[in-house]
Symmetry: none
């Protein structure tokens, strides 16, 4: 009954994982957290990526998350539904693996099913002997030359973007005393988390999915503080994981609102890692990302979002940048829609 | 890539779930707890059982675990390995569903795979409108009349066994002051657990898998206290879930050693439920079971087990009963082996 | 309340963490467990303490919890609220660090905020090279000589108390067969827990917060068994952590009621550690503490508590001691109140 794919196919297809959504996976009204879904996506990606990179002789290695492409949350998922996560390797370069992951929600009471997410992740294999050595990725076979060509284009595009974001660092969130409602200072939030063993890979590095779950948690608090309603993750912009985070670090995850449209909010989230014990290494910015949230009424219909009150030039500048991202994504969605018709 | 089985097959096959084993799933030397595996098995069974029972019109329902057949742990599983759990419906009677579950461990670094467990579970569907009403199970299609016939035999056999164990209740574990090493009193242990939301189904009843995980936890502590070495679950005798346990109950899980052979220990585990707030309902025995443990050295080879020191007729009697179960299982294993040759 | 640090101040102030309270953090009616809050408090304390003690050259170290001063739970917290925990170093001696932690609950829907807890914790740094070596603590800068002087007084006072409690050991909880309602034997409870990787610091020692959470869990079950209503933690007396508990230990946490007033119950909790595999070390009493619980009706108003039925001189003696603690705390609360007016 459990038939494993034969030969070469084994490493490409074949990760499907299913899990019932529990109360702790969701918010108070039963909507599953975006972070829960991101964590499941990354876990499937890590399994298939690590498996693939170990299908040749040579150093044993672990696939570490390097980047997640922009991800949309198409439908909300609820407590009691079953999430089916399937992952497939779609492209390999010399040192990286592209994994595409689909998430399907199934209501096992009514039988209804919906594709809730499609995500693309990039992994890089690190040697288990030497955590700073990147190993080589065995090539996959493509169904057609076009398929390989398109993969190569995606690979090149993300490579450029990763380079560009490498230096967007340094900024910190400064708390404000007695902030006014609807200002940036009012809703900004941060959490700290001491990295534990279950957060980590075999290497002792934090799973990308664990980091993304914490980021979504902070972004969700920021969004809820701003609009005081039931809020859900609508999308996450591309996230680059520039530096690994090690076991024993304390991570500080901070979020602030950057932009509001009529029905959405954009929240910028920073992750700073602090190797407590190896203090000489110093704190560093490990990840940054933009999360978009929407506010829902009791029937899961979008509600208007109170506009963000801006204070100072910095906030104005970030708002304009957020608006540009918003308009660009809107245009892209429209183009995709037309393309399909 | 995620192709769902067509038509009627959908409800029979189709649950596969994969998860990396983490430090919290395992003991201090890296052996995954038997309880972790039992919990994954039951989760897959509950998904496929609930899905199947809702494929017809009428009351929506949840499949509740009624019985797990004797389960052997064929090979140990380790942190970092991926557990693949697949579940299939193999028989249906008017009010119950038989699910067969296989667990496969995969070392994603070396690619090696092993079947570690095969389990058979029986579920009964309860209406969501009325938690005391058992709903009807839609029939499955069989590949052959023989298949159906064999299923029916298994169904009848377990039904008789469930009846027989229904009244084996009442006994309690009485603590001993200053017990001698290797006596029953020395290693007996118990824990209490306040049932939380994540332990429960949509009905607010404890998942059978949660109960089994707690039972394995107590049995493991009894075994470790007895032989002070690395111990692992070797098998679990058939477990019957006579009464459901509700959210808000305190459950007391108690274990005591009943029998030792040269290389194995048998531990009897009781689960008592105490509906704290609805005190008028009173405490009741919800489940009992026998776990068999073995002791392993550093190379995962079985070690001799110190013989149990018996005190009193009761302990002697339980030892003899344990020995009978041990010899019966041994004979059955030998018969199965010859049958295969 | 959230003042963030400049320069040198960094190591003194500066830990703020926010987390949404989830269903598993709370009891069946939505009240967050006192143990959940104690665990968050200790995690923040451990982070700031460890960070501070590693700000100088020399051995890398981990701050281990030595003592928590008496802690009151001023208001209940609920699922869906955000807990903000802030920690600050307020005094350092040669070998210990005092951390003050405030917990604020925020209802993000209404915006209302309440200070729910103020706690004072003492940490001692242990070398990572040699777990039995206590390292030196770098001094902090004080705002004024008075501030330092007051800190020194607190330090001396807790030192004396820690000495005094060092020998209050040995007692065990003996189960009673067929106990009558409202007696000590009726509600007494105990649990065992196998220490797992996520319970531990980098050293492989159990986090103080994990121990306190288990203690609160047992105390809560004792209180619920006694009065069969919704109960919440009202306060915890000073807790001293005399001996560390290591990974792989089994801990037994036992609780019994010692005293009841009209509207409160006092529960004594013991923690015994049993280093299973290193059996030559033997079992030892690791921690003891007194928890005070109150019983709440549906509107979160205090209910009368059924009086404890005492049996024997021992129970009578413990009741009197409990009463003395109760009256002392009451007097102290009144004095504090007058002082503020």
């Amino acid at each position: 009954m459990f038939r494993l794919p034969v030969g070469k196919m084994l490493t490409r297809l074949a990760i499907i994982t299913s899990r019932i959504m529990r109360p702790d996976d969701a918010n108070i009204v039963g909507n599953v957290h975006g972070g829960t879904i991101l964590k499941m996506i990354e876990e499937a990606g890590c399994i298939i990526g690590t498996r693939h990179c170990n299908t040749q002789t040579g150093d044993r290695c672990v696939a570490a998350l390097a980047r997640v492409e922009r991800t949309d949350f198409l439908y909300p998922m609820f407590i009691g539904e079953v999430a089916h996560v399937s992952a497939e390797i779609t492209y390999t370069s010399k040192h990286s693996v592209e994994v595409q992951v689909n998430v399907l929600s199934e209501n096992i009471l009514t039988g209804s099913k919906k594709v809730t997410n499609k995500a693309t992740l990039w992994y890089v294999p690190f040697s288990l002997q030497n955590v700073d050595k990147i190993t080589e990725v065995p090539p996959i076979e493509y169904f057609s030359p076009e398929q390989e060509e398109q993969g190569k284009k995606r690979y090149e595009a993300q490579k450029i973007e990763r380079m560009e974001t490498k230096d967007r660092n340094g900024e910190v969130i400064t708390p404000v005393s007695l902030p006014e409602p609807y200002t940036v200072g009012f809703s900004q939030s941060s959490l700290i988390h001491l990295v534990g063993p279950s957060d980590c890979t075999l290497h002792g590095f934090v799973h990308g999915g664990v980091t993304m779950k914490l980021m979504d948690e902070v972004a969700g608090i920021v969004a809820a503080r701003h609009c005081k309603t039931n809020i859900v993750t609508a999308s996450v912009d591309a996230i680059n994981f520039h530096r690994k985070i090690k076991k024993g670090c304390v991570i500080t995850v901070s979020g602030r609102m950057t932009f509001t449209s009529n029905k959405s909010m954009e929240i910028e989230v920073f992750v700073d890692a602090d190797p407590l014990v190896e203090a000489e290494k110093g704190k560093y910015r490990a990840v940054t990302a933009f999360f978009t949230y929407i506010s829902l009424d009791k029937d899961n219909k979008p509600l208007p979002v109170p506009p963000l009150k801006l204070e100072g030039e910095e906030e104005q500048k970030r708002f304009e940048e957020g608006k540009a991202r918003y308009l660009q994504n809107k245009a892209k969605r429209l183009a995709d829609k037309e393309h399909k018709q």
